[in-house]
Every structure is written in structure tokens, then in C-alpha cells.
Amino acid sequence: MSLLEIKNLHVEVGGKQILKGLTLTVEKGQVAAIMGPNGSGKSTLAYVLAGKPGYEVAEGEVLLNGESILDMAPDERAAKGVFLAFQYPVEVPGVATMTFLRTALNAQRKHRGEAELSTPEFLKLVRETSKHLHIDQEMLRRAVNVGFSGGEKKRNEILQMAVLQPRLAVLDETDSGLDIDALKVVADGVNRLRSPERSMIVITHYQRLLNYIVPDVVHVMARGKVVKSGGKELALELEASGYAQFTDEAA
């Protein structure tokens, strides 16, 4: 069975149809890149998977391990293993990053009927993970994303992903706003999390990110659907030819 099956998904936001019959399958352990022009519905797909309020599913199905997640609240989906790395991570004033990580991890474990992680176990997990992401202890004491640079916010997203160990990670334009050094750190953090047990959807506008996070498959979205799928070489073709061939078909 595939980890994620999206069938004929139609989604409206504020009365406007954004996804128009999207069908997509992600296998267990697979890293799938989703590329496409602005406005093709890539971020909408990411939000719909995470369960953001205001994204109305008019038609279609989303199955995670064969189970429909569309009626689940965002926290339930997270406990089932869905994780969204936000394109624009929000600032959470007054909530220390450490508290946030711990609250989230324990909430998920509780939901799954697992015991809470002990303090030493938790600290060890965070310490090891944050080291690889060049996140220092001072940053962990600060309020989530408050006063963080763009790069720090993205690294913090990957830290959360590493601590929460999702089964399906959706990375929404994780490369946006990053310089090449920051991009390498983030990509390295993502690559460490690659596992036969974990699938990833890497959403990006540019091919650049895929030099560092090499996908198993590439899907091209345009006008709210997947219009082409292929191997990693498809990303390079797109880099050369651009998205015009897909958007021009719009008429």
C-alpha cells in the first residue's frame, strides 16, 4: 500500500477553486518533489494535507496508510505522522522553543498511547539534532521563531521535524529566502531524516534545492493538477525549458 494517496482532489479557498482534480501517490520511503509555477496550487496542497482551516475540500480523497485524514483536526493528523515545514514559519511570542518542542512531542505521543519521553531522553534528542542543524542552546531558550533570521526559522522547522519524526513530511518552499550555505545546512538536515519508513514531499519552485535533496520522483503541478511526472532528470529539463509549456495549455 502507498503511504499517501490523493485522489481527484478539489479544493476551494475563499470560494476560489485552487486544486482541480489532483491525483498523486507517494510511496513509503519515497522523496517526491513537486514543482510548478506560482499559483499552480503547490502551497494549497501542503496546507490541505496539514489541515489548515479555510481550505474546503469539495471533492476527492486523501488517504494516509489507507485511512482518510480529511475529517481529522490538524493535531490528529500530526499524531498520525503528517508534518508540514512551513514556507513562512510563524513567530510564537512567549513560548520557548524547548517548551514548544516538548509540548508537541508529548501531545503526539499521548495521542498515540505512548509514554512521555523522560527529560534526559528529550534533552539528548534535542541536543543531538540541534547540533547537526547548527542551532545553539541559546536559540532553543528563545521564543519560537521570535527574532529569528530567515535561515534560523527554516532550521527550526527541520529541528521540529527531526524531533517529531513524522511519517510524511511536507516541505513547503523550504529553500525560499535561504543563501547557499543555509540551504546546505537545511538540506543536510533533511537528508539525515531520509528513511525507508519516512516519505517526503518537497515543494519547490526552483530546481536548485533538488541538487541537495535529490528526489526519487518529480511531479509537475499546473492549474491545480499534476500534469507531468518523471524521474529526477525531469527537474533539470524544467530548469532548461521553464514552466511555460504547462501554463500555455491553460487556454
Binding site: 490538524p74 500530526a78 512567549g94 513560548v95 501531545a107
Partner: protein
């Protein structure tokens, strides 16, 4: 007060007149105190209870909110078994109990032991210290203050001698004790002499189901170079009506921090009047309210920069659930010669229900030209984007909301220097959050 023809007296005003006529001969205090009462009552009687057309009281129409005036509270009776002001019970303090408006040594801790600290019953202090005249702090041109002066039934005078300090916080615990509704009018005086230090807690508590009334006043005189932290904790019973007037004079190069934390009471008004009277001082006047049901809580501030080179910061936050009503009125006055004043005021209200109401009225009156002053006010619901972010990490809605509300309140509570008090108030906030649903 605007001069306008007095309407017919309300039943509460009539009752107050009758109570004053009956009690004037027997109220405590000698000589000048009696005269003070007479003048104060005359002024009150001419103005009546403040109402919505009195600008300073526009959101707290006492004429409408105080339907009846309760009789003066009787003696304290035996000390109860339970804790006084339970939310503070974990903190080591020297407690001074003011029960039903009178200093009650038997309910208090043994004498505050630090050298250089004296505690006396209010009217004994007034009789022994002719140099101290009641009512010289700011905030005395106010009908609630007049009413307190007319009826003041007792309280305490605390003096921290020059350069002295108190190891533990001093806790003035105002308690209403009794089964039948009554009114109490405590007045206390705290004099912190130059170079002295004090952490002062003032609490208000009483039984849940009794609609008792409190009209309290505290005179706080802060000497040059003194450091004072004043934390006022309102945990009145759910039917109580309380008006607390705080008048503060701040000397030169002093550090004054104030925090008003309000959880309880049906109708509460904290009115704080601060006058910077010496240069080089810093004041931080903060507060947090957590309200539900039909609670009405008004925090009103008047910060008077009478001299220059002082810094004041005012930060008030309120969390409003149910049909509660939170009010913040803050006025910063910069007098003509108070150059280099730095005054900033911020108020934020978090509305947890559609029926809750927040009114914010910040005002600046600046008569000097070389100053930095500003204010900001916001009111709104929890940010849906924040809620979604937390939930997307697996945190259930109720827990996500609690975490965000806790963070919202925590940002001001953490301004309190005393760790134990800070923790006790955060714990009380968590308990409040736990009781929501």
C-alpha cells in the same frame, strides 16, 4: 469633577449619607482626622457616586453598578483555619492582616522582625506622627477616594527606615470575613525612606457567595534612591465589588515597580495615581487580568511626570472570556518643565469569546517639548495562524490556546522581580486556564 446639578440621590447614595450620619461620632481617629472625614464626605455628597458622564469613570458607572451601599463591616471574629489569599500561600511573607477594614494583629504574623521596619495601626501612627498628613499623595481628587476618607475604618502604617530593607515580602492581606454583605474601607500608609527597599504584596480576598464591598486606599511614599516593588493581587469572591485607590509619590533616583493582578470580584476598579516628584527615577506599572463570566475590571492609571529625567513604562494585559468586560484607561501627563521624560504605555486585550468586551483609553498630555512618549493598544482574538501552527505540531486545540494565553500573560508577569510571586501568579493563571471550557 464637572459641576452639574445633582440628580436625585440613588438608594445607595442615601444609604451612604445615613451611614455617615450614624457613624461619624464613632469612627476612629482623633482631631484632624474627624475634620478630614467631614470635608471628604461633603465633597462626596456633592458629587455623588461617579457615573458614565464623569470622564474618569466613564466605563465604570458606579451609580449603576453599585445599587446598594452595604452597612459597615463588623469586627473580624476568630481567625479561620484556611489560607488567606490561597494563591499566595506558597510564598514566605511577613503578613499583616486587615480584616473587615481593620488591622487584626491576631490574624497577622508575629511582628515584622527586620530592624528598621515599623508596623503600627493606622490611627495610632497618625496620632504619633503629626508630620505625616493623610491624603498628600496623588489621586485625592476622586469620589471613591473621598468615600474612603469619610469612612476609613483602619489599616496599617508601615515604615521602612532610611537605608533599611525587608528580607521577606511584606504582605498586606485585605480580607472580608462574614456571611452577610457589608462594606469595608481600609486605608494604609507605606513610607519607604530614602535608600530603603521593600517588596510589598497587597491582596484582596473574601468569600465566594457574599456581595461585600471594598473601598480601599493605599498611600505609598517612595523616598530618594529607594526601591519598591508593589504587587496587588485581586482574588475577591465572585460577587464582590471593590474599588482600590493607590496614590504614589516617587522621589529622586528611585525604582518603583507595580503589578496589578486581577482574577476575582464581580466589579473591580484599580485606580493608580503616580507622581514622579524627583528626577532620575524609573517606574514600571504593569498588570494582568484574567476574567470570565460577567466580571467587570477597570484598571485606571494617571502617571504624572512632574519633574524631568524619569522613565515610566506601563504594560497591561487582559484575557477576557465569557461576557466579561475589561477596561484600561491610562493617562501620562508630562508637566511643562519635565524635559527628558520617557514614557511609554502599552495595553493588550485578548478576547476569548464574542461576548467579551475590551475598552482601552490611552491618553497623553504633554506640556514639555523634549520628551519621548508613546502608547499602543490592541484588542483581538487569538491569532488563527498561531493556533494552526501549534496544532500542526500535534498540540490539541485546547492545549494550544492555553499555551498561547499563558504566553500572552507570561510576557507581563515575568516583569515581576520576585521569583516566588511570579511563579504563584503564573500558577494561578494556569489554574484559571484549566477551569475554562
Amino acid at each position: 469633577m464637572p459641576a452639574e446639578p445633582r440628580a436625585l440621590k440613588t438608594p445607595a447614595e442615601q444609604a451612604l449619607s445615613a451611614a455617615f450620619a450614624a457613624a461619624r461620632g464613632s469612627l476612629p481617629g482623633e482631631g484632624a482626622v474627624g475634620k478630614l472625614r467631614e470635608v471628604a464626605f461633603e465633597r462626596f455628597d456633592a458629587a455623588g457616586l461617579p457615573h458614565r458622564r464623569v470622564e474618569e469613570w466613564k466605563y465604570t458607572d458606579l451609580r449603576a453598578l453599585m445599587r446598594e451601599a452595604r452597612p459597615l463591616a463588623g469586627p473580624a471574629g476568630a481567625k479561620p483555619q484556611g489560607n488567606i489569599a490561597p494563591i499566595l500561600s506558597g510564598i514566605e511573607t511577613d503578613r499583616i492582616a486587615i480584616v473587615n477594614g481593620r488591622y487584626e494583629p491576631t490574624w497577622s504574623d508575629a511582628k515584622v522582625s527586620d530592624p528598621g521596619v515599623t508596623v503600627a495601626e493606622l490611627f495610632e501612627f497618625v496620632a504619633d506622627n503629626p508630620d505625616y498628613r493623610l491624603g498628600q499623595v496623588p489621586g485625592t481628587d476622586d469620589p471613591a477616594y473621598w468615600l474612603n476618607t469619610a469612612f476609613m475604618s483602619g489599616g496599617v502604617a508601615l515604615r521602612i527606615r532610611r537605608g533599611g530593607s525587608v528580607a521577606k515580602p511584606v504582605h498586606i492581606a485585605h480580607v472580608f470575613s462574614g456571611d452577610a454583605a457589608a462594606a469595608m474601607y481600609p486605608r494604609s500608609v507605606v513610607v519607604v525612606e530614602p535608600g530603603a527597599q521593600l517588596t510589598l504584596i497587597e491582596s484582596f480576598s473574601g468569600p465566594e457567595g457574599v456581595d461585600y464591598q471594598v473601598n480601599s486606599a493605599l498611600e505609598l511614599v517612595i523616598g530618594d534612591g529607594a526601591r519598591v516593588d508593589h504587587i496587588k493581587v485581586g482574588c475577591d469572591g465572585g460577587a464582590a465589588l471593590r474599588v482600590s485607590t493607590l496614590g504614589v509619590t516617587v522621589g529622586a533616583k528611585a525604582a518603583y515597580k507595580d503589578f496589578a493582578f486581577t482574577l476575582g470580584g464581580a466589579v473591580v476598579r484599580n485606580q493608580t495615581f503616580v507622581r514622579f516628584a524627583g528626577e532620575g527615577s524609573a517606574g514600571a506599572i504593569d498588570g494582568a487580568s484574567l476574567l470570565k463570566g460577567r466580571q467587570h475590571v477597570d484598571n485606571t492609571l494617571v502617571i504624572d511626570h512632574a519633574v524631568g529625567h524619569c522613565t515610566s513604562r506601563e504594560r497591561f494585559k487582559s484575557v477576557l472570556d465569557g461576557e466579561s468586560h475589561g477596561i484600561f484607561q491610562g493617562k501620562i501627563i508630562v508637566e511643562p518643565h519635565a524635559q527628558k521624560t520617557d514614557g511609554k504605555m502599552m495595553t493588550r486585550a485578548l478576547l476569548l469569546s464574542d461576548e467579551a468586551e475590551a475598552d482601552n483609553k490611552p491618553e497623553l498630555e504633554i506640556f514639555a517639548d523634549d520628551v519621548v512618549c508613546g502608547h499602543g493598544a490592541t484588542a483581538g482574538a487569538l491569532d488563527p495562524g498561531l493556533k494552526f501552527y501549534l496544532m500542526s505540531r500535534g498540540i490539541p486545540l485546547a492545549e494550544a490556546e492555553a499555551l498561547l494565553i499563558q504566553a500572552f500573560i507570561g510576557e507581563v508577569v515575568e516583569e515581576i522581580a520576585h521569583e516566588g510571586i511570579r511563579e504563584a501568579l503564573m500558577f494561578a493563571a494556569l489554574k484559571w486556564l484549566g477551569s475554562r471550557s
